[in-house]
């Protein structure tokens, strides 16, 4: 039970700044996800919260109390890493009980027994308590590692890519497990991942990190529908959002997106009016694009040529060349197009995104 506040936290290594002026409020008992590519500073942030990495400047507070001077043990954090690091010579039971037998906070045996059984039941590993880690599958081992971290009911639970080395199927199963179990945790959870679907599925709120900075904080739905900038938009979605560079111009006193001879009308807004002449980037998600053989009766459309079409079971992905850019669009599995066929992309105006080319700042998002 703790809220966590990071105030202007910086972390410098000898020759570069890993974390630049990071401020963040994580609420009590919140499931908070930090999403970013490798090298974004996610793990460093987690380690600073755990106390295994000192901050260069700034403050970290738990429940309003600064904790920089507390040792990792005093902070009441538990951490689960990507590699599970179980003791191979101990049974599952002893692995989970281990933190409760630590010198200085040793529990009586009957309490240890209760705590281990409780957590093993939540995680569904109670049938394997006598086994050694070597006799378990990858997913079962990961659950034991979770159990060991959770058994002493820490105030703060830190998870560093706990699922990333599991195969896709197991990863999705464990993701659901974590989601289902979280209510029985009672801890504030900070979860680090590079997998956007984990972040969307698990987080109450999430932060997108890039090169030591936070690009946006919000609920999964907020960041997915209303990304603060192009970088955030690009990092959520598979296949990712498609982009097309152009400029905003005025046409009969209305602002339009222009690229060569193509014109796409933009909604009338003072903000877009103020951007006339600026270089921008149009964004469309693959699932919002419709493909038509005939020129559709809408100005929200672009001509393209089929590059290739891939069938994926219940749907298909068409890659189409829009000028010199390759766009991906989801389409029906039974719709077959031929190579280099002329196709029109069409979309509903409310699904159009627009970003400033230089800063990436969002000018137009879903629902604007």
């Amino acid at each position: 039970m703790a809220d966590i506040v990071l105030e202007n936290v910086r972390k410098c290594y000898s020759n570069h700044e890993a974390i630049c002026d990071l401020s963040l409020e994580i609420r009590d008992r919140e499931f908070f996800v930090i999403l970013g590519e490798s090298g974004a500073g996610k793990t460093t942030t987690l380690k600073m919260i755990a106390g295994v990495e000192p901050v260069t400047s700034g403050a970290i507070l738990f429940n309003g109390q600064p904790i920089q001077n507390l040792t990792p043990e005093e902070r009441d954090c538990a951490m689960v890493f990507e590699t599970y690091a179980l003791y191979p010579h101990l049974s599952v039971y002893e692995n989970i009980a281990f933190p409760l037998r630590a010198p200085g906070r040793r529990m009586p045996d009957n309490q240890i027994d209760q705590a281990v059984l409780r957590i093993a039941r939540i995680l569904g590993i109670d049938p394997f308590l006598d086994r050694r880690p070597a006799a378990l599958s990858g997913g079962q081992r990961q659950r034991v590692a979770l159990g060991r971290a959770l058994v002493r009911q820490p105030a703060v639970f830190l998870m560093d890519e706990p699922l990333s080395h599991l195969d896709a199927r197991l990863r999705n199963e464990m993701r659901t497990e974590i989601k289902t179990m979280r209510e029985s945790f009672g801890s504030t959870i900070v979860y680090v991942t590079h997998d956007y679907s984990e972040a969307l599925a698990l987080g109450d709120r999430m932060a997108i990190m890039h090169r030591g900075r936070i690009e946006q904080v919000g609920t999964p739905s907020q960041v997915f529908r209303r990304p603060a900038n192009r970088l955030v938009a690009e990092s959520l979605g598979d296949p990712p959002m498609n982009f097309l560079a152009g400029t905003i111009t005025l046409d009969q006193n209305r602002s339009v997106f222009t690229r060569g001879s193509w014109r796409i009308p933009l909604p009338a807004s003072p903000r877009l009016r103020g951007c006339v002449g600026k270089e921008v980037c149009l964004g469309l998600r693959p699932q919002h694009i419709r493909l038509d053989r005939a020129r559709p009766d809408t100005p929200f459309s672009l001509p393209s040529k089929l590059f290739v079409q891939e069938l994926l079971g219940d749907h298909a992905v068409a890659s189409v060349a829009v000028g010199d850019r390759l766009f991906m669009a989801l389409c029906e599995a039974d719709q077959a197009y031929s190579l280099d066929e002329l196709l029109y992309l069409a979309w509903a105006p409310e699904h159009m995104y627009l970003f400033l080319e230089d800063t990436g700042e969002t000018l137009l998002a879903e629902g604007d």
């Binding site: 195969d167 896709a168 199927r169 999705n172 993701r175 659901t176 989601k179 289902t180 209510e183 956007y196 679907s197 969307l200 599925a201 698990l202 999964p220 739905s221 997915f224 959520l236 979605g237 598979d238 296949p239 990712p240 998600r285 699932q287 590059f307 290739v308 079409q309 891939e310 069938l311 994926l312 079971g313 219940d314 992905v317 890659s319 390759l326 991906m328 599995a333 190579l339």
Partner: protein, 378 residues
């Protein structure tokens, strides 16, 4: 080379006495076909490629190209190119020379070489980096160079061993599209190994699903998804995976078979049950259903609806995954992205009969109950 035919081919390591890497594989790969071997790691996929390439001896069985046995033909005489998972480029030699290498060692005349290198570079869109060296290139660019080197001498068949597994998600998607495009232009036989079902679906004319050294099923992507031969294939392909339920069957003398899960009626099959069918239905049975085929509602619609409870509800941007608890078992259901559910909310679940698959619990084999005249009698 018209066809590549594997006739009862087996591979065992340890001087031919070790465990099977490939067991009794018979398969006819058609001329100009894109064949994908799909399976989890350790199922023998790379050994198949290496035997076809001639890099690995065949323990038992016959491999023929165009009806000519090639078991003993050396790799360089097979007219096959292999694109490896690690690109194996010469890091300090210019891209142009890396691509030209297979032609140089065959002593092609220089003007021919230049012409072919230019063609291959254009096909994979690396014309502008021919003067650079591989160590200066990104992973995706290196992959393209490796592809160009494989296609440059236009062999009769291409072998790909997990060529995209090194790349990040975005690059993987682009390269997948490039390979598919290249195939539609070259129209040569392609044999491709992967553990990624999306890759297999996207690329293949036909997929051969492997498990524990044995071929489970071969068919078009559509057949593999809609008509799986056994429970392994059904479970392995599709994300989230197909749901499985242990069911009980009760048979009546008038030919009706009642199928129930934990005491609740799921479906009734009616028709003339021949003795074989009766026998099949008496053994323990599993029902499979895909997550996007399960119907759900807050009120009871069908007599065969099952009562369930919401466990977790995950929104993944484009779609949602709902986990419901049915008795003691979890089921996954695909939902529209915006639909929300309360935890522990009761829900009625319906399995449409036409989307149910039946498997033998013991052997995993698919049971085609379609031979019965099926219909819901309730």
């Amino acid at each position: 080379m018209a066809e590549i035919i594997l006739d009862h081919v087996s591979k065992r390591y340890g001087k031919g006495h070790g465990p099977f890497a490939v067991k009794d594989l018979s398969l006819r790969i058609r001329d100009k076909e894109f064949m994908v071997f799909l399976g989890p790691s350790g199922c023998g996929k790379p050994s198949i490629l290496r035997m076809i390439a001639g890099l690995e001896e065949i323990t038992e069985g016959k491999l023929s190209f165009d009806n000519k046995p090639v078991n003993d033909l050396p790799p360089q005489a097979r007219d096959i190119a292999m694109a490896f998972e690690n690109y194996a480029l010469y890091p300090t030699v210019a891209v142009r020379d890396n691509i030209a290498f297979p032609l140089k060692i065959r002593h092609w005349p220089q003007p021919r070489i230049d012409e072919k290198v230019a063609w291959a570079a254009k096909a994979v869109q690396i014309t502008d980096i021919l003067h650079r060296r591989p160590f200066e290139l990104s992973g995706g660019q290196q992959q393209r160079v490796s592809l160009a080197r494989a296609i440059v001498r236009e062999p009769q068949a291409f072998l790909f061993d997990e060529p995209l597994s090194h790349l990040d998600m975005k690059q993987r998607q682009v390269m997948r599209a490039e390979i598919k495009r290249l195939y539609s232009q070259l129209k040569k036989t392609m044999i491709y190994v992967t553990h990624d079902q999306n890759e297999a679906m996207a690329l293949a004319d036909r997929i051969a699903v492997m498990h524990r050294a044995e071929l489970q099923q071969v068919g078009t992507p559509e057949e593999i998804v809609n008509d799986p031969a056994n429970a392994f294939v059904a479970r392995f392909v599709g994300e989230p995976a197909m749901n499985f339920l242990d069911v009980e069957v009760r048979m009546e003398d008038n030919g009706t078979a009642w199928i129930a899960y934990a005491g609740c009626l799921l479906a009734a099959l009616q028709g003339t049950l021949d003795p074989v069918c009766r026998q099949v239905l008496l053994a323990p049975l599993q029902v499979g259903i895909r997550p996007h085929r399960i119907e759900f509602s807050e009120t009871r619609v069908h007599a065969t609806d099952l009562a369930a409870e919401v466990g977790a509800c995950e929104s993944l941007g484009e779609r949602g995954v709902l986990t419901v608890r049915l008795q003691s078992q979890d089921l996954k259901i695909l939902t529209p992205p915006d639909q929300t559910f309360r935890k522990a909310q009761p829900l009625w679940i319906h399995f449409p009969l036409e989307h149910m698959y039946f498997f033998s619990k013991e052997t995993g084999k698919r049971l085609h109950l379609d031979s019965l005249s099926r219909r819901l009698t309730l």
